[in-house]
Symmetry: C2
Subunit: 341 residues, 2 copies
């Protein structure tokens, strides 16, 4: 009855390529199709996406370096945008998509709740998206789901909520090399301190998740406190990509707390390090009734970020227009998954 | 900035009274206020709700037996409707509210996904609600959250889903007497068989939850299979209200399976009985990645149903119009919960 959702993939790094692969794989369901792909990397431009995905089949989608031209030629319903974590670097890219009349679902971590860190960009994109009748939303597994949307959903059975605590433990040994490097696996404590001093180290989007939870519950925060410490390896850890020795950094322990009237209302605690023995996600609601929700083994991040992007694309058609958050969209769920015949 | 949401409570059984109590308790947040209450019970009509709630304070809300009059006098934004499990019995009540321009959030289990069991009523209410610019939705902890909305959310991190299994185990010993009776605690196996033969025994809404999950994932079901068996007490169970002896019925084991092309795509398994040793809710997604979500200790049903009603009322203002389901609304979360000052 409905025609397939037309998707353009903007950004062909590891996540973007995976996202394109998933969208192509779902074409057989008739719900979605990949119509375009954009990246500035000269090694990728003008190549068929099928080649970049290492397959033997052409996809029929050729990578373009010019997003404006690609938007004009392919007229996508939704752009899946995966180019940078930082909103300041990508606001122009998103604006171009919005002006072309496309919804934007972006992995830009700072877009998950942009109203505090980038109020002017947020206001501008919101106005523009409303004017063009489209929806812009930032999502992913974290920020976007594990430490915010899922935490909000965990409060749904409560008549009263006093505080929300979220914990995510990820064994980075099972993740890709860039992530292992990003959490500092194998560096020294001194190197950790140097990186931390740049202000660009740690998990991007943790404070955005915190603010998304607080805003979703209608809570104003007086202040947000953040801490970032190294997790130090206690024994040898071997991953497919690198080895970490005892005393070296295994990864990060990043936490954020939202305070109001001296009370800690929302706290997020994230440990991502190689060799973590007990990967899991948990939400503890100090409420009536109390809720203790656990995802055993945790939510596997790389696949889940791709999933959240594609699955959120399935929700934007009926979403409110403007710049919104995951708290404004319908309950997220898998999109275009055909059960085995 | 925004005025409080005006709520009318329709139905003052145990759940309705609790709901009214919660709404009154939230008035101090400035987000919501109880403006009316309706019940046909002569023992309740014309009494101040404060008296019925056993408090020493008048609420200022007097119970009316005439919903039409009450709607006209109080002009609520939302009616919280808690009068019956069966849509056929309450469609007129809902219609009256819709014609008065009020959103309806109802605990009627058959309304959680009414399109299969009551297609004509559903179509009529949908048309009417759209015409009057209001939203009608059925919710509660189950159906409404534990075995459907939460299950859908659990699939959000998946790029592929092959099957979804939901399990809910409730120790009915900690619940109110009507629920203990409803699950048959203390009756004989013969009495269980008699009740089962009436077709009105078991958990109402299980199939609605199943269909909500399937529809939310875009899956068509060829058939739905249901089984209802007694849980037999193996030892004495004492509750505040009754005792169950070994060999007597302790409660129900009710399950439903949604089948497509011979495959079991969605299965819901509910055990509600006195003495259940391990109350919990769990969702297992056979997907990529696999997800195993557990609510430890389970979601306490009576409070949670009240919470889902009140919290969903907080979502309807921005919901799509017409007769919708929980899968169409924004991610549910606690509403009007002021953190402790």
């Amino acid at each position: 009855v409905t025609r397939p959702l037309r998707v353009l993939q903007f950004g062909l790094g590891p996540i973007g390529l995976q996202t394109a692969r998933v969208v192509i794989g779902k074409a057989s369901t008739g719900h979605v199709e990949l119509v375009g792909a954009v990246d500035i990397d000269e090694a990728k431009v003008r190549r068929d996406l099928g080649d970049l995905l290492g397959g033997h089949q052409k996809s029929g989608v050729v990578v373009s370096a010019d997003v404006g031209l690609a938007l004009e030629e392919t007229r996508p319903d939704v752009v899946l945008h995966t180019t940078s974590s930082f909103l300041g670097r990508v606001a122009d890219q998103i604006e171009t998509c919005v002006r072309a009349g496309a919804h934007v679902v972006s992995s830009t971590e700072e877009l998950a709740y942009p109203f505090e860190r980038h109020p002017e960009i947020a206001q501008h994109l919101d106005m523009l998206a409303q004017k063009h009748g489209v929806t812009v939303v930032g999502t992913g597994v974290n920020p976007g789901f594990a430490m915010d949307t899922l935490a909000l959903a965990a409060t749904a059975p409560c008549v009263d909520v006093r505080a929300v605590r979220v914990e995510r433990v990820v064994d980075a040994a099972g993740r890709r090399l860039p992530l292992q490097r990003k959490v500092g696996a194998g560096i020294t404590e001194a190197e950790f301190a140097e990186r931390k001093a740049t202000g660009l180290f740690g998990h991007i989007g943790l404070v955005e998740s915190l603010r998304l939870v607080a805003a979703g519950l209608g809570w104003r925060l007086d202040s947000v406190e953040e801490t970032l410490e190294p997790m130090i390896a206690e024994h040898d850890v071997e991953t497919p990509f690198l080895n970490v020795m005892p005393g070296q950094v295994a990864g990060i322990h990043h936490s954020a707390r939202g305070i109001s009237a001296g009370q800690e209302l929302v706290s997020l605690d994230l440990k991502m390090y190689v060799g973590a023995p007990d990967s899991h996600d948990s939400v503890t609601v100090d409420g009536d009734p109390p809720i203790r929700l656990v995802v055993k083994g945790g939510i596997f991040g790389d696949t889940a970020t791709v999933a959240l992007l594609v699955n959120t694309a399935g929700l934007v058609a009926h979403a409110p227009r403007g710049l919104v958050t995951m708290a404004d969209l319908a309950v997220p769920r898998a999109f275009a998954t055909a059960p085995r015949a």
